[in-house]
Amino acid sequence: MSHLLTNYYEAASVILFGIGFMNLLLQNNLIKKFIGLNIMDTATYLFLAAKGYVFGRVAPILTNGIIDKDYYINPIPAGLVLTGIVVSVSVTAFSLALVLRLYKHYNSLNMDEILRMMREEEGE
């Protein structure tokens, strides 16, 4: 329990991840489904950002001539977050484009309903 309190950022991000994951899995509304995907991805960025920041240190940009590794933070987690954001933006854009086309064809955002309509059409 005390671990959870000291690592509250990580705990929060894992809880957020769970919320996002369950939304992606269980939501029937496609827009909500992909919002779930975004919550899930953002949660991992919170995790990485929290892991990457060390209290009292600064970003590794040499401005006042201090060459001491204990003065700076590790920039790699921030780099990973940036890469991850690029990936999740493109996945979201792609998925929303798909949802748009689905809506045009089926006039619905409900995945179950769409699957039912598809089966009915195939059954004909």
Partner: protein
């Protein structure tokens, strides 16, 4: 593992770069046929270079790392190449080339002309991402290419442009996103507890953690997240539900690539992680190997049970893929080198067989005017005898008849099982036997159906279809490759053994 100037060592980087570069310049080519030629040239060139690489690393018995950029090991990004990776690159190139050659008629028929070149962008991206996942030595690079492969493979499903294919793509994308999300969280936590992203450094970290017992629970979570993520992406049994909708709704060429290669790319990453990051022993200690074993065995049986109940050929082949992925995960889950060897060989056997089956199935459906129910495909082999022979060879290989590739992998699975004792031995042998019978139960009726002459109800019923030269070439080569894997399998097994040994040595 020293860095020296050797032109051969540049091949892996060049392969990934060239595939991606071709993807980038393809939008400038408006004509689909030219785009296809560029794609074919690229795959052939990379395939030939990979053969050179394979011969080189096998003769020297070496594995090397290639530094990307100019930062040395703990900081920079790396590729790692050994005999196993080189052999996988050759496999990916061969199967890609043959599937696209055999299925090109379908591509040009089913995609509207102004979008044909776009299909080849995605094929090039898929190819590049699969090569990158085979070669990478960095876990985050692995994640990024998983996402690239997800989007690229979704667009391959979408290419047909029908309503059904959009639904199939959405379904596939949702599952893909869940898999990569779990994998990403696993990567983040692993980075948090080891502080590294390169495989060898993580391996050291994991070994130290296992020795001291620190972060035992976190490590277990990490391993489960990553392997469940990869399991979802490679359609391991309980996570397979997107596969039949997706494959059933798209072109057979796309299905062949997706089932033969894309699913395998995730499996390859799982095998790489097993050896290069966690070690087999860690997986066994954390009980993840047991989970994979059980899911694999269940998948072997359940995938085939679903396939038996299916009357549409594409969906039947999709369920059959679920069963075959079960074989591979069972092999990984055995937790022995022999099991891993069998899993590796099955990756090869299934890749060459399933993509051939899909290409043949595409030809049948094409001749039957787009109908894919088994009863509509009666006599299909008489309309297109070459596709009929190809389908028969593929079916026999999947069932596990000697002389064909599928038999050898089943033989090695059985040999790996004999090393085990107790319930695992019984389970593997029983699962192999049951799934073999089930395989025969759904493949033999379809083989008999396509060779049965339909009663003359119309004039066009048994008319010969035009067999294009590209299809004939691809089909003959597919059959030859299958027989080579089934009869002359020794050299392949030797290279895989050497590759696995070299991977295990690196620390």
């Amino acid at each position: 593992m020293e860095h020296h100037l050797n032109l051969v060592h540049n091949i892996p980087f060049f392969s990934i770069f060239f595939a991606m570069f071709c993807g980038i310049i393809t939008p400038l080519i408006k004509n689909g046929r030219t785009a296809r030629r560029l794609h074919g040239f690229m795959v052939l060139l990379i395939g030939a270079l990979s053969v050179v690489l394979l011969v080189n690393v096998t003769q020297n018995g070496e594995a090397f790392t290639f530094m990307m950029g100019h930062f040395p090991a703990p900081w920079g990004n790396e590729l790692r190449v050994g005999p196993l990776e080189a052999l996988l690159a050759v496999l990916v190139s061969v199967v890609m080339f043959l599937t696209i050659t055999g299925g090109s008629d379908i591509i040009f028929k089913e995609i509207v002309p102004e979008k044909q070149n776009l299909y080849f962008i995605m094929l090039n991206a898929t190819f590049g991402a699969m090569l990158a996942m085979t070669y990478t030595n960095d876990i985050f690079t692995g994640y990024v290419f998983i996402e690239i492969l997800t989007i690229a493979s979704c667009t391959l499903i979408l290419a047909k442009g029908t309503k059904q294919s959009i639904v199939g793509t959405t379904h596939y994308l949702v599952f893909g996103c869940m898999g990569s999300g779990l994998f990403l969280l696993g990567v983040c936590i692993l980075y948090g507890i080891t502080g590294h992203l390169l495989f060898p450094q993580i391996k050291e970290g994991v070994a130290a953690l296992m020795a001291t017992g620190d972060y035992h629970f976190a490590l277990m979570i990490v391993v489960s997240l990553m392997f469940v993520g990869l399991g979802i992406k490679s359609a391991l049994f309980p996570f397979h539900s997107a596969l039949p909708t997706a494959y059933g709704s798209t072109m057979t060429t796309s299905s062949g690539i997706l089932s033969g290669l894309v699913l395998k790319a995730y499996v390859i990453l799982a095998i790489k992680l097993t050896f290069e990051v966690f070690t087999v022993q860690t997986l066994v200690e954390l009980k993840i190997a047991d989970v994979m074993f059980v899911l694999g065995v269940l998948g072997m049986v359940m995938g085939s049970v679903y396939a038996v109940r299916e009357s549409r050929m594409k969906r039947m082949l999709a369920y059959s893929s679920v069963a075959q992925i079960g074989y591979i995960f069972m092999g990984i889950g055995l937790g022995s080198v022999a099991g891993m060897l069998a899993a590796c060989f099955h990756v090869f056997a299934h890749a060459v067989t399933k993509s051939m089956l899909f290409v043949c199935c595409g030809a049948f459906i094409e001749d039957a005017g787009g109908k894919e129910q088994l009863e509509n495909l009666k006599g299909a082999a008489h309309r297109n005898p070459l596709a009929g022979i190809g389908f028969t060879v593929g079916a026999l290989s999947m069932i596990g008849v000697p002389l064909f590739a599928g038999f050898i992998s089943k033989l090695y699975f059985a040999m790996a099982a004999v090393e085990m004792t107790g319930p695992r031995l019984v389970l593997v042998l029983a699962a192999l036997a049951i799934s073999m019978i089930l395989n025969a139960m759904y493949f033999l009726p379809s083989v008999i159906a396509i060779w049965t002459r339909p009663k003359e109800d119309g004039e066009g019923a048994s008319k010969r279809a035009q067999i294009s030269s590209t299809f004939a070439l691809a089909m003959v080569l597919f059959i030859v490759v299958n027989l080579v894997l089934g009869i002359g399998y020794r050299p392949f097994i030797d290279v895989m053994k050497l590759g696995i040994e070299l991977i295990q040595m690196t620390l």
